[in-house]
Amino acid sequence: MSEFGALSGTRTLLYKEVLRFWKVSFQTVAAPVLTAVLYLLIFGHVLEDHVKVHGVGYTSFLIPGLVMMSVLQNAFANSSSSLIQSKITGNLVFVLVAPLSHWAWFCAYVGASIVRGVVVGAGVLLVTAWFAPLHVANAAWIVAFTVLGAALMGSLGLVAGLWAEKFDQIAAFQNFIVMPMTFLSGVFYSVKSLPPLAQAVSHLNPFFYMIDGFRHGFFGVSDVSPWTSLAVVAVSLALVCAVCLHLLRIGYKIRH
């Protein structure tokens, strides 16, 4: 029973986390897709005739950036908002009394974040693909960066959800850390177009590598080698996972 039970428990928590966002998919999937489309319409309209990056039109350049930005932001939002809601309403007790290990929590919450990220990302891609021709140079890079990026942000969301005691702390995390780092990571521009100092600073931002590596999957060209990006993302993911698993194991702010 125990092996099967543990596996089945993890699967149930994953299912519950996916069902949770799916039940309010208008807000959790449709809204971010609309936001991304608005970015595309506005920036694409203003810049299409003026800017070419990596030898492609601006709209084509922008689409992968927007897709990845949506993946990352929604992966973060899923685990962080689920956890803070459960903490504040008190229904986290149902999971806390269950025989689930810290690994089970981690796999379920981060797994659901990846699912949400992929669903929103696919939605953005599906809708925006109508606006510009898009080629896929290497699907493996696209899948790798989607999954690793979403896992990284899902874990970060889990850490934020464990740490935060109020909704506004999650909002602050989102508005003052996640948003600036995604916006300044090269979603809307190639980092190569920046002055040297800003370029150097951008290279310290792990989000830059997630976007750049993901874009490489579409165009086959990028600001840095996708292998470098993969290494940076993998190391960042390992670090955040280690912190996250440690906090879950000691029951940080959830088991008193």
Binding site: S8, T12, Y15, K16, G90, F94, A98, P99, H256
Partner: protein, 311 residues
């Protein structure tokens, strides 16, 4: 092997204002099949003790086990044996009653459990609410779902933390019938409640906590017999004569006075008559658990030693 074992359990909360000792060296065992009551005033440490048992909190000192499984080192097996009804009225607003129960069972590795879920719904008067969203339920209905969620994985040990606080008479009856049936079928029940008549009616054995310490632990009948006193109860509008105030408990118009024997009853009535008081609905009865509770909590000396170590 005890169903639940608390060994020298201590819990200290440290804050910038200093240390708070919520539990201090609490030790007792609950045997399989017992219906056990844990009583104490607010802040006595009942919920802290149950939180440690459930894994919601961690003991600063001591050991807690469920059917021999340590709640920290062997938490998965310990938690599978436990069904906890939390004190707070919590629910997940995203799901229907049936979804919530399926999910809760799933956490424990239980699948294809609909027959038992239906039985739980039937027994708790929730059958017509199975597909209702949790948000649509009244407080009493949500409380019933909490009970169902605690029982969905058929735990041998059931813990109810003040399950009838703010609950109507009908649910209390339904709940106690059902829990008493489960107890007869062999489940161990640990109950905390503020309704002492419930504890008296249901619990075979009782522990009382005060400021984090066990101050009484005995069979309910022994606790009741321990106060070898009778109670004089009556209603009266006039104020009590001052010489009776110390040994009396007044609730509105109802006065209860402890009397140890017939001579004392006579003496009390004499004092009342002398003061010109006219008691109505006078009756003489045995002390109930509430009297025992108040006596122990006030720290008054008792006929028996208040602290008895586990059987």
């Amino acid at each position: 092997m005890p169903a639940i074992s608390f060994q020298n359990v201590g819990k200290t909360y440290t804050s910038p204002r200093g240390a708070l000792h919520a539990l201090d060296d609490v030790s007792f065992d609950i045997e399989p099949g017992e219906f056990f009551g844990l009583l104490g005033p607010n802040g006595a440490g009942k919920t802290t003790l149950i939180s440690i048992l459930a894994g919601l909190a961690r003991a600063t000192r001591g050991k807690v086990s469920v059917l021999g499984h340590d709640v920290v080192s062997d938490f998965a097996t310990a938690r599978r044996s436990l069904g906890i009804v939390p004190q707070e009225l919590v629910f997940d607003p995203f799901f229907s009653v049936r979804e919530a129960l399926r999910i809760q069972g799933g956490y424990f590795g239980v699948r294809n459990n609909d027959a038992w879920i239906d039985e739980l719904l039937e027994n708790l008067g929730l059958a017509d609410k199975a597909n209702a969203n949790m948000r649509q339920l009244s407080g009493g209905m949500k409380r019933r779902v909490l009970v169902a969620q605690a029982l969905v994985h058929r735990p041998p040990v059931i813990v109810l933390d003040e399950p009838t606080a703010g609950v109507d008479v009908e649910l209390r009856q339904t709940l106690w019938q059902f829990v008493a049936r489960l107890n007869k079928e062999g489940h161990t029940v640990l109950l905390t409640t503020h309704y002492l008549e419930e504890a008296e009616a249901l619990c075979g054995r009782i522990a009382m906590l005060k400021l984090g310490k066990v101050v009484a632990l005995d069979r309910t009948s022994a606790l009741l017999a321990g106060t070898a006193s009778t109670m004089l109860r009556f209603k009266m509008d006039a104020p009590l004569p001052p010489q009776l105030v110390a040994q009396s408990r007044v609730t509105g118009r109802i006065v209860q006075i402890t009397a140890h024997d017939a001579a004392e009853v006579e003496r009390i009535l004499g004092v009342l008559r002398h003061a010109g008081c006219v008691p109505e609905d006078l009756e003489i009865g045995r002390a109930d658990l509430e009297d025992v509770f108040l006596e122990i909590m006030s720290g008054a000396p008792r006929a028996r030693a208040p602290l008895q170590v586990a059987v």
